[in-house]
Subunit: 192 residues, 2 copies
């Protein structure tokens, strides 16, 4: 088996360290140490820490592709699909002991003002994520399962944002109760 390239090692190490310690809490040396490569090699592969952060964010987002694909599995009831999707994210946070939160939310808080490039990519990611949720909401709507008479896009965006807020709170509580509260309220008030 071929050894992963240094670039690949840096992306994986960047994903882990930036996710856990944040952008400004992580130095280039922390990333090269985690990757087990000499510090000097970093700039052979990335122009800046920001450039690596964009790649790490991309990797983080792509790692969720299979989970998001389940949102379009029309063999499952759309409301149930949404419930399973958010439960899957909750299970992931539990497995990570609430130590990382969501990289998308973390970067939103930390980098929206500092990096226009990161902010622009975050906006695209949120939009894509919201569209994936929206398609489920739309199906649920057709089945008469959505209580408020609002555009599916509005509800979907709200759900994504409310989820990110629950993740923030779970980092503080070090506990899954914010996810349970999200599930209880959303599936009692928005969906029938």
């Amino acid at each position: 088996m071929a050894r992963p390239s240094v670039r690949e090692q840096l992306i994986e190490a960047g994903l882990q360290t930036l996710h856990r310690h944040g952008f400004n809490g992580t130095g280039v040396q922390d990333i090269t140490d985690a990757a087990g490569v000499p510090k000097g090699s970093f700039y052979n592969h990335f122009e800046s820490k920001e450039a690596l952060a964009l790649e790490a964010l991309e990797r983080y987002w792509q790692n969720g592709a299979a989970r998001r694909a389940q949102l379009s599995d029309t063999s499952v009831d759309p409301v149930e699909r949404l419930r399973r999707f958010f439960r899957g994210l909750s299970d992931l946070a539990i497995r990570q002991n609430f130590q990382t939160g969501c990289m998308i939310g973390n970067f939103s808080a930390e980098l929206s003002v500092q990096s226009k490039e990161v902010r622009d990519r975050l906006a695209e990611i949120y939009a894509a994520w919201s569209r994936a949720i929206e398609s489920c909401v739309r199906e649920a709507e057709k089945a008469g399962r959505v209580q408020p008479r609002l555009p599916a896009a509005t509800i979907a965006t709200f759900l994504v944002n409310a989820w990110e807020g629950a993740v923030l709170r779970s980092k503080v509580e070090q506990d899954k109760s914010p996810f349970d509260q999200f599930e209880r309220v959303v599936f009692a008030s928005i969906f029938a």
Copy 2:
């Protein structure tokens, strides 16, 4: 009029810089520069940047006291009180051009793992904030205005978290639409 003390200048400067640039994105020198005091004076007043961050967070939270007090103004309809409260927060974010977000949310993302002291204080703040919202939800419930049959505390915590998520998204979008979506969904699905 007495000049503000150096300690007071540092807290105000810390509030501004930490709120805008985050904890790890702000150096002690950035804070002393913003306060217009010599860097050497910092450690006469604060043991560490973390100690100042706790004071700045406290100041941030106290600055919202008058706004939160309106939540217990029983001369106003409780649902309307909640709507006004969140609109007030939205107006504040608009006035700040979405450049800062909420310091509570920002610190949740950045410092929950890094600082146990900050995390503990955030947990208390969230709990107090949720209780203030809860009292309104309970009144609304008594008036038959709450649609889901769930404990008022669950709904209140959900609202606080969903709000924080909307603030995150507004930093990315640089736009108030996440607040409008929050208002539309919450006041169409949870409250009657």
